[in-house]
């Protein structure tokens, strides 16, 4: 390979990486990447708060067991409940204006809490809380947030902003001629800029994926955590999720790089790609393969089961009619991205510097 190329690409990276990381009006990308981290962080805090409260309640109502808690039935009187469970850990009485009296009692054995509502001295409503998270359920929720929010929205729009700006941003800033007047081949410039966008988006979004997963693991109690890491292959999930994140940046990056060169209107582009990616599940097989999400979905480690009653538009996003085998998915996505980048390098050769009419 010609070493001048490499030096030129590294010169382009020098200029572009900083721009991609700290784009003007681009801070919201960090916010998008942060949202799932905040969701899991928030969930973790709530669970810890609950566990602590249960612990205090359990200490305040000694002798309470799970069996005793579950033996409380609707219609029992305060005296009957007190006979089984003893003094409540916390209690509150409210008398309505019409004279009806409500009592709210709480008991806990440390892992399960029951909130009992009495109306005029008889149990009217029972509500049960558990301290431990449901491993299966949380794993699916993680997969759901990752697929529906993170891949389809956060990374999608993050890549759109970063990669479309590579050329469009410079046309709007009227600074693209700076590159076009240097002795660098335009296809080399395209590759250099693409790599710069890739470095920025991959770092931002993969770091977020790692953070999401770490908090997700930390939020489990030790038993569930071990179960997730050992029996459920938690670490291989992490690898898959990070890999899918990187591939998503690669794939969406190429699409939006090309869009920034070929198409003037960013809104139309975004809408078209978004719709195309969303209806992917119902497209014929041949067309389905010309999309980024098809390959990414195939690589996600956890299937999202669709229960009855899920509204069709959501089900549409999740259906995986046929999963490509991992190696095919990875190669397919690489091939798709390479083809799209190649088209960009062809088109850029005919690009004119015509700032005034491009706005």
């Amino acid at each position: 390979m010609n070493p001048v190329w490499l030096k030129q690409i590294s010169a382009v990276l020098r200029l572009e990486i900083k721009k991609s990381f700290f784009a003007r009006r681009g801070l919201w990308i960090y916010f998008l990447a942060l949202i799932p981290v905040l969701i899991w962080g928030g969930h973790w805090m709530v669970m810890r708060y609950k566990a602590e409260r249960m612990h205090t309640h359990a200490q305040a109502s000694p002798g309470v067991t799970r069996e005793k808690l579950l033996s409380i039935k609707q219609g029992m009187t305060t005296a009957e409940v007190e006979a089984i469970l003893g003094h409540p850990a916390s209690s509150r009485t409210v008398t309505r204006r019409n004279g009806t009296e409500f009592k709210y009692w709480t008991y806990s054995d440390g892992t399960t809490t029951r909130n009992i509502t009495f109306r005029d001295g008889a149990v009217q409503r029972l509500n049960t809380e558990h301290a431990a998270c449901d491993l299966q359920e949380d794993t699916v929720i993680f997969a759901g947030i990752f697929q529906f929010f993170y891949l389809r929205l956060a990374i999608f729009f993050g890549c759109m902003f970063v990669f479309m700006n590579l050329f469009r941003g410079e046309i709007l800033d009227r600074s693209l001629h700076y590159y076009f007047l240097a002795p660098i081949r335009r296809d080399v410039l395209v590759v250099g800029k693409y790599l710069a966008g890739l470095v920025a988006t991959t770092v931002i979004f993969c770091l977020s994926t790692i953070a999401q997963w770490t908090i997700f693991v930390l939020h489990f109690d030790p038993i569930n955590r071990d179960a997730y890491l050992q029996q459920n292959n938690g670490f291989s999930h992490l690898l898959s999720y990070v890999g899918v994140t990187a591939l998503a940046c690669l794939g969406y990056g190429s699409v939006f790089l090309a869009a920034g060169i070929l198409i003037r209107n960013p809104l139309i582009t975004a809408a078209t790609v978004l719709i195309w990616e969303s209806i992917n599940g119902i497209l014929p097989a041949a067309l389905r393969q010309i999309s980024v999400i098809y390959y990414l979905k195939s690589l996600c480690p956890v299937e999202i089961p669709m229960q009855q009653g899920v509204p069709p538009p959501v089900a549409l996003l999740a259906v995986n009619v046929d999963n490509a085998p991992p190696i095919v998915a990875v190669l397919g996505l690489l091939a798709l991205s390479a083809a799209v980048v190649f088209i960009s390098t062809r088109r850029i050769k005919r690009m004119e510097i015509n700032y005034s009419t491009d706005n």
């Binding site: 030129q8 007047l181 015509n354």
Partner: protein, 323 residues
């Protein structure tokens, strides 16, 4: 500065070049063969000077015709832009750049290493006398400083063809003289220097060749000496922006180059008419050094327009290209 590489093909050639922006005419049927030396493209606003320069450097693609610069085309940017420097009219810069960054980063794109780029960048910056300002952000530069940093970028790789779009615009008389000296030095080494201007007076004495353009066509081409005498018959109107117009007016009337002078409506400038622009600019140099703060000296556009009409109708090439 090193001598330019041997010139096997030494002409910039445009064969029947036309450029349309959709329906709008940029330039039409341009045939030119430009030899080394200083060539000036002169024409009023919208006459197609920038279009022509952008076509030569590949920023625009011709609708028809072909262009070669000493045997090279922008299709092969690796060779082309090592030999061609273009100082554009675009007054915009990559975000957050200092003057030094602007020149240095451009040179890095050539594939040269840090030391070489650094050395070349400082050499170019020194040539335009911008060393003190080089480490400041371009965003804080004055118009003339921005003009000069772009000039530094264009000459930084020591090109054998230098193309400059209105390079004298916004320069004060002193810097203008230095810049013209730089062009002379460049062209003296057998290189091409192509500059554009809408003021014939400002470039005709320094040019080996002048190309007059109007509405996308070449209306006259060649050595301009014959036209010069006629221009002197036609007074030129100049607007001088300065802090004490009255004081300047009294100074200026000591000279017999000025036929008329009046303070501009807003009180921040002086409008004068002169028959001898060269003398007038020289005089402005002396005044600029004598305590009056002169901000800009610029010909009044309406007047330039009338000069062109005058030239093109009566004096110039009569509307046809004679390449």
């Amino acid at each position: 500065m090193a001598a330019p590489p041997p010139i096997e093909k030494s002409l910039i050639q445009l064969n029947d070049v036309s450029k349309f922006y959709g329906e709008v005419l940029g330039v039409n049927k341009i045939n030119l063969a430009i030899p080394p030396g200083i060539t000036s493209l002169v024409g009023p606003n919208g006459s197609g000077k920038t279009t022509l320069m952008n076509l030569i450097t590949g920023l625009l693609q011709p609708t028809r015709g072909s262009i070669e610069v000493c045997g090279m085309t922008p299709e092969d940017p690796e060779t082309f832009f090592r030999n061609v420097g273009y100082c554009t009219q675009f007054d915009s810069y990559p975000k957050g750049f200092t003057g030094y960054d602007f020149v240095y980063s451009f040179l890095r794109l050539f594939g040269w290493d840090h030391a070489e780029c650094e050395q070349r960048a400082w050499r170019a910056i020194d040539r335009v006398n911008l060393r003190e300002a080089a480490s400041r952000k371009i965003a804080g530069y004055s118009k003339g400083m921005r003009q000069r940093i772009r000039l530094a970028q264009a000459i930084s790789h020591d090109p054998r063809v230098l193309i400059l779009d209105e390079p004298l615009n916004g320069l004060d008389p002193l810097v203008r003289a230095e810049t013209i000296a730089l062009f002379r030095e460049f062209s003296g080494e057998g290189r091409h220097v192509i500059i554009s201007s809408h003021v014939l007076h400002e470039v005709d004495i320094i040019s080996d060749q002048v190309i007059l353009m109007s509405s996308g066509y070449i209306v006259a081409e060649g050595q301009i000496k014959g036209v010069r005498s006629e221009i002197e018959e036609h007074p030129m109107q100049v607007l001088i922006r300065c802090d004490r117009p009255q004081a300047l007016a009294s100074r200026i009337f000591e000279s017999n180059n000025v036929v008329e002078a009046k303070v501009h409506g807003d009180g921040g400038g002086l409008l004068i008419k002169t028959r001898n622009a060269d003398e007038f600019y020289l005089m402005m140099n002396r005044i600029a050094m004598n305590g009056i703060m002169v901000e800009t000296v610029a010909p009044v556009d309406d007047d330039v327009q009338s000069l062109y009409e005058y030239l093109i109708d009566d004096g110039g090439g009569g509307g046809g290209s004679k390449s």
